[in-house]
Symmetry: C2
């Protein structure tokens, strides 16, 4: 018992009778980012036996099993000081970037208790930090005019339920009586309407590109493509659920068939120009599949299409919307889309599927743009693809 | 090295070469809430020696030091199973409520790695869950018409900087050409424009009360009262800062003096009725102090005033806005505010200061309402106060 009380004294630094227990200070300073872009990570854990740092900015390791080499996320060992504080300093400066990491304390993966900034990817929560410079400056909040991010509900006719959207409107929206083009931006499996704004840094990318005159002011509508959810986990009547990829229906056509009611809602509720030339659709992974199917099924809706690491060729079931794909594709391209943009990383597990799709477009002389990068099926790539794609719109 | 690789195999369940490392599944199921409202907490930590659960729903303990009794947040020990999974089940059902908790693993306080739902209070991040029923049903998302929550930037004339607001507009806003009353809702020390929507569950409370006809449809503007921030940590050009109560200026009059530019912005950007009878202001703790000062300094702005656990009597420095308080108060009350509502918990460390303020109003025969509850300086009380206050507005 003595131990427990002692512990509580240390960690609940200010504890007034029957008040909320707040930490007014984090246990230590971590991460500490130096001017030269080296970084020190710290964890106060006097009783731990081993503390590891796991992060994609560390050199990866490799393991061979049954002849297959698998790359493992880089790890580094923290060293324990006499004060019970574990530390690790990067041996050299980190490249500019938006990074995430976790600590592993005696085998238990946790976020950094001294870093209040975290990001959730499906069910994995990581601590995050920025190294400024380069592309990462597009992903950081800068002192530029800021757009508005709204969480808005629309009525989905297909499911007869209210569902949630994240909608970006650019700085100045509503002030000058202007109408704006609209980009519909779709997430991947395990994601939701919040993914592009959180993991994807879409709001910052838009604010920065628009401020620099590199993208047109536009409305961006971020949808929820999981038809078993009305909203992102924790934001709808389903309550504090967690995403379950095995239970969530995908590639069954229902989201695609429901899409026109989203477009109708947006054209009614926002200052848009309800015309194909002023509409774009893009998505990553499952959302790339959705963007491909939706733009093909409704060939008069979208003049700009972006497929980022798209999960092409995943059609399931006997869905009318998926039938006669070549006929639909021919109709879509006969109408000469302003942009059909395919982006993929060389190490993406969907690389071959995308290569095959590109070959199909090539064979049929359908006009598209192809953007190949390094890296794989990662948010690093999707942030980069969004930044490139936005410059090409409208 | 073998140990590390083994670990990574276990925790990165699906790890494709050079793909993002995602957990598709959490390590276990926790918390598990049974139909009878008992709850099991679980943590996978085979190498841990001791795992505690800390939560306000557990019986508190007490410690006496220098003759002063201090209440400590309740703790319980988890028991280790043969599979390395630690568990604790509440001995009896929990009362309906919105609860937060942490695990303490060998002295290290962490969130529950199997629960993706967390909440940040200043720098403390806790895992959260609901036990439905009673008041907590106001705080949960229900299947009712939902308002919109927007993160909007306005220009602050006093500091000549753009600053961020969270603005709630009720379901149907903008559809019928209606104009709405406005509540300005202010946070406490260490909080920001996001606190009422996250910790305070203000969006759910508003949606539910409005749907039940217990509150009028209204616009609610949640401000950032820390004048060294343009936005909540991680949402402004300051970057991934953490709140520091020692460095953040407070009780210096600057926020209060800057307030008219917020009201002007809202009256311009939203469908409001720009009149005193259609405006309310309320705040908790430091925000209660702000609401008291602002409503007193601008007696023609707000007809409804709510002070929740207000930090009365904290004026610092030689600030014009704070001077001649009695004269200002007399002017304010001579204009007969529709509601001047003071709420405080019996165990709040600001109880005596509020009692003194109530006595001052009483002595001067100023008309107010006083709402005394159990409990202390907690979000449990502030959510409850907001729910009560909203019913009295407009």
């Amino acid at each position: 018992m003595r131990k427990i009380i002692l512990f509580l004294f240390i960690f609940h630094i200010i504890h007034l009778p029957a008040q909320e227990s707040i930490w007014w200070k984090t246990p230590t300073t971590s991460p500490e980012i130096y001017d030269n872009h080296m970084v020190t990570f710290r964890l106060v854990a006097p009783r731990a036996k081993e503390v590891l740092l796991v992060g994609e900015f560390l050199p990866p390791s490799y393991v061979v099993k049954d002849g297959i080499t698998t790359e493992l996320t880089g790890t580094a060992s923290l060293r324990k000081g006499g004060d019970g504080v574990w530390t690790y300093t990067t041996p050299r400066p980190l490249e500019p970037g938006y990074y995430n990491y976790n600590f592993v304390v005696d085998g238990l993966t946790i976020t950094d208790p001294s870093n209040i900034h975290t990001s959730r990817d499906v069910v994995k929560i990581s601590s995050v930090f920025f190294i400024e410079g380069g592309w990462s400056d597009y992903y950081r909040d800068q002192d530029v005019p800021h757009g508005t991010l709204s969480h808005v509900w629309y009525h989905c006719d297909k499911t007869d339920r209210d569902r949630r959207l994240a909608v970006y409107t650019p700085a100045g929206y509503g002030e000058y009586g202007l109408r704006y083009p609209v980009l519909y931006l779709l997430h991947g499996m395990g994601g939701d309407e919040d993914s592009w704004a959180t993991l994807g840094r879409a709001v910052q990318i838009l604010d920065n590109l628009i401020a620099q005159g590199k993208a047109k002011p536009m409305i961006v509508v971020m949808t929820n493509g999981n038809m078993d959810q009305q909203a992102a986990p924790g934001h709808g009547p389903e309550g504090f659920i967690k995403p379950d990829l095995e239970l969530t229906p995908a590639y069954d056509g229902v989201f695609e068939e429901s899409f026109p009611s989203i477009v109708r809602f947006i054209d009614k509720a926002y200052h848009t120009v309800p015309r194909k030339q002023w509409r774009a659709i893009a998505g990553l992974s499952m959302g790339g599949f959705h963007a491909m199917q939706i733009s093909r099924a409704y060939p008069d809706f979208f003049d700009y299409v972006g497929l980022f690491s798209a999960a092409v060729g995943r059609e399931q079931g006997d869905i009318p919307l998926y039938q006669n794909p070549m006929e639909k594709l021919r109709t879509q391209f006969s109408k000469k889309p302003a942009l059909y943009w395919i982006a993929i990383g060389k190490e993406d597990f969907l690389y071959d599927a995308n290569a095959e799709y590109v070959q199909l477009l090539e064979t049929n002389r359908f006009r598209y743009e192809y953007f190949e990068t390094g890296g794989g099926h990662t948010w690093n790539n999707w942030r980069f693809y969004l930044t490139e794609f936005l410059r090409k719109l409208f």
